[in-house]
Symmetry: D3
Subunit: 145 residues, 6 copies
Amino acid sequence: MITVTRRYAFSASHRLHSPLLADEANRELFGKCNNPFGHGHNYQLEVTVRGPVDATTGLAVDRETLDRLVRHAVLEHVESKDLNRDVPAFAGHYIPTTENLSLEIFQMLERSWRSEFKGDLPVLEKVRIEETARNIFEVHAHGQA
Amino acid sequence: MITVTRRYAFSASHRLHSPLLADEANRELFGKCNNPFGHGHNYQLEVTVRGPVDATTGLAVDRETLDRLVRHAVLEHVESKDLNRDVPAFAGHYIPTTENLSLEIFQMLERSWRSEFKGDLPVLEKVRIEETARNIFEVHAHGQA
Amino acid sequence: MITVTRRYAFSASHRLHSPLLADEANRELFGKCNNPFGHGHNYQLEVTVRGPVDATTGLAVDRETLDRLVRHAVLEHVESKDLNRDVPAFAGHYIPTTENLSLEIFQMLERSWRSEFKGDLPVLEKVRIEETARNIFEVHAHGQA
Amino acid sequence: MITVTRRYAFSASHRLHSPLLADEANRELFGKCNNPFGHGHNYQLEVTVRGPVDATTGLAVDRETLDRLVRHAVLEHVESKDLNRDVPAFAGHYIPTTENLSLEIFQMLERSWRSEFKGDLPVLEKVRIEETARNIFEVHAHGQA
Amino acid sequence: MITVTRRYAFSASHRLHSPLLADEANRELFGKCNNPFGHGHNYQLEVTVRGPVDATTGLAVDRETLDRLVRHAVLEHVESKDLNRDVPAFAGHYIPTTENLSLEIFQMLERSWRSEFKGDLPVLEKVRIEETARNIFEVHAHGQA
Amino acid sequence: MITVTRRYAFSASHRLHSPLLADEANRELFGKCNNPFGHGHNYQLEVTVRGPVDATTGLAVDRETLDRLVRHAVLEHVESKDLNRDVPAFAGHYIPTTENLSLEIFQMLERSWRSEFKGDLPVLEKVRIEETARNIFEVHAHGQA
């Protein structure tokens, strides 16, 4: 068994504002990130898969298949977007913190996984997002973090 | 003579859209970056100064003075902001491409330089902005690039 | 469940010398790192916490609380310090190798954790120190490394 | 218990071509990487060991011993080499994908481990190879990935 | 005036061997890099252009035009290639050291420049290649380095 | 003409304290960096040379010669050292700020240059030191910064 990780990049904007909190509480909680017009980041996304190495090809995952899945399931929905207004999952009902974005992207990948990778291999092991050089988020399969 | 460069970081959002072009021309020219709701970046800013080394202190520039100048003249105006709507220089009249942002930041620094650095030393030599890992912009003193 | 990692940086000096070994054995074991006057590093510290995402705030950990804890419990004690002489834990009785420094910092954080994070969440998952670009150390909760 | 990771670098060339597939299938599967004359990479290798910290030395692993082991068991066989033709393990019978290279390097280290590290400590925990900034591979002890 | 730099990456293999020197002299001069079967690198290429910022678009260079030029003039000829055998400029008559590769790439770009950038702007200012994290090469316009 | 840059690394400690200033003035000017026992850094050193490419070897500078010169003239004197007490140039008479260290290293290289590089080529173009990820210093030949 081996893990293979591919790195992708996308740029997007977001505003941190909870509809469940008053304006004052939002400003106190999120500080500058609550700025009404939003701000943005270069997100670095890593997708980690786990599986055995195929004896014929020497590969644990076909790069082209993985790239197509990540592109269609994730990148096309977030690249150069405003996460609050352009991504349906965040439109209104919850906040595009990078915690929520990581969980959402893990689910976006999981929903498309079976249609691309028949036979259940490789498995989706981990999603990691570097929001800035100081903030990193990881979601592991089975919530085992 | 020596140059000293300090690195700073800020996150902001922008939308590339020229008021001098039709919507269709904007979409063609800026592609995804013309997305109506904007997107964002982690900008890395480098400020380079040039001067002699002081014999008593061994310094070419006082770090605290430079940091205060950069913070007041630049960072407070762009950190966690929407460049199109929050920065007066870009509000309406021109486009927050990183070319224009670099020129604007060079001027922001120049306008405050004399009040912080009496006696004309050190001089402001260069402003460099890394917008993403693939796009880098530099403005040099005297436009000599 | 998700993990959130914050990166911090500090610069310090240390000298590797074991009081339990003769001078010659120290020189042989630690080589250049046994230099009597010491040397130093830019340490990069990563603190990883694990917890559920709060439904109201979209956060797994309040950044400000974590930063304050790391600053008071760790950074103020090591930033621009001589680890051998300025840090009580290393003053005399054991050697500030980065192995020991990592274990010590994990304990410094653990001792302050309960007073900052009521209710036991998030948990302290991992401390990671990059001493140089070639040497990396990790301490995991429950010693499971 | 703690983990210590050392980073090493080597440059090598490889050609991805499976002897079990027709030329056309190889071209389709490996694309540019099937180019007859091969191409190359700067591989970044990380070796992670796990063990207790020695009370006398403050170390979990002697750096010099680990470096010598990695140099003799791995680096001398791959540094500035053509993996297809210069490395016996790949000469003919299987394909130097970085999946296979990672597994092979893990085994190269394991075969020499006992002769360098008497008493079974530290243990070899993980081998990680960064083939390019976009492709990362990990092999963990006990195949638990 | 401003400079805009775009970063590109390609992987290739090469062998350092001068046809003007005896085998023994080649081995002594190039060491491991003279290995008969070659080795390879992940080359990082930076192309820097210089020009005024267009008042309508806020750009100093159209990204799409620059990318197409770099792709057609350079990347398609070196990506996943063996520089000694796949690149006509190096086939036989001179050695693919990264010095020569940098000069060759500067000329490849210059030959196509006029057909893409009418009106002489922006100008090609610099080509920079990072061969490994330790070796960097730059060619400037007018040979002024 | 081309420039070739080699990157080197060394770790050292220093204390910023001017013998020409009172203790109080030193504390105010240098802050944490005036800590009596000192602190340290991982310094990254880049040495840039400029010259024509040799037609026989395809090189602008012999790597082995440059490395030997940098090792003997610089690295052996600063690697794992206390700059204040171990480096004669700094012992007593002036302050090991990274400004002074950069100027000193430029001179260390210049003094040995002629004995290694006969015939005056390549020339020493630039010394660049990255003290931390936020502070970078450059000394150019002829003081033209």
